[in-house]
Subunit: 207 residues, 2 copies
């Protein structure tokens, strides 16, 4: 297997953390997105929409999409369980994974693409939309801080299932990009801050 | 069980189609979003981010997020399989589910929210962003039409796995909203048009 990687990217980081939690090593091949390597024919042959990460199996089969790659790894290496054991737990982890993706990951990318200097001259930035996305992101942070605060203290370190799961990884990676876009967790959001400190102190966070 | 529903909504439709394919009936309770019922305390108690669908189990447990609800139903009613049987098939269905969600569902909602008259005066619409999302959506349609066209004719009726899966449902529901936003599949995209005609002719499409 080989994992096509973008070190600074939100979605490749998800897979690297996931692999580290599983204790699985897969050779990485860096793709230089800043130099347009992901738009070159060799890469588009792997993933025609030009996005990372991409997992290439030994027989040449391609799996794109971070969560699809993680789910494949989970099937091959079931422990520690990161996607759920029972029907209800699996559904609740998926619920929080989607909330992390759609309510945090998407607005974070909208802030990044529409406000960050990296994209100036590369894509059409719509600043007004980027500002709306930033407000949305801050509202979602406030909501989640409140949700965590309603729980017993020992249940505040993980989004769901009282252990570290794919849902935590998705949110953690979104908030790292948020930080790079200068959208930091407000200081008075102590529960979300504590969660973030907890997940980012894991050894896998440096993967 | 009870399913809180929004008849015209993209995500509740996914669950209704999924249930119809499974032959499972769950009582529906319509939530009047146009009248703000999803922002009322009774509903926010179920889903604090105010979105539909929401599944309420008999013991009061709540599952939000369309795909999480479908995955729960799949665990209780495994046949017909809609999420994958083997590790690879499961990963490939997730890959196409995410492509359908992120490359079609998200831009479709961006078109809807930023350009459709329904939202005038309800949210801040950024027309420039809506136009970009429409272009993005049309580019993705062209890409997918090409992908389907590369396959053998008998493999063009489904996105993945040569049977109707959750990935088809996600794309189908996105393109229904696109149509409501006057973004139709261009006539020269015969493969995508054929796929859409095929999935929408299923009995479940009327659910």
């Amino acid at each position: 297997m080989k994992l096509y990687n973008l070190s600074a990217g939100m979605n490749p980081r998800r897979v690297r953390i996931f692999l580290a939690e599983k204790g699985v090593e897969i050779p990485l091949q860096e793709v230089d997105v800043a130099e347009g390597e992901n738009a070159a024919p060799e890469f588009l042959h792997l993933n025609p929409i030009g996005k990372l990460p991409v997992l290439e199996l030994d027989d040449g089969t391609i799996i794109t999409e971070s969560v699809a790659i993680c789910r494949y790894i989970e099937a091959l290496h079931p422990q520690p369980n990161m996607f759920g054991e029972t029907p209800l737990e699996t559904a609740q982890i998926e619920m929080w994974t989607r909330r992390a993706e759609l309510e945090f990951g998407i607005p974070v990318m909208n802030v990044f693409e529409n406000l960050h200097p990296f994209w100036v001259g590369r894509i059409t930035q719509v600043k007004e939309y980027g500002e709306l996305a930033r407000e949305q992101l801050l509202r979602r942070m406030a909501w989640l801080d409140g949700e965590l605060g309603k729980r017993a203290p020992e249940k505040r370190d993980f989004l769901v299932a009282e252990r570290y799961t794919i849902a935590d990884i998705i949110l953690q990676c979104a908030l790292i990009v948020a930080k790079a876009c200068k959208v930091r967790i407000p200081e008075d959001q102590t529960h979300l801050s504590q969660w973030f400190a907890s997940v980012t102190s894991r050894a896998s966070a440096r993967a």
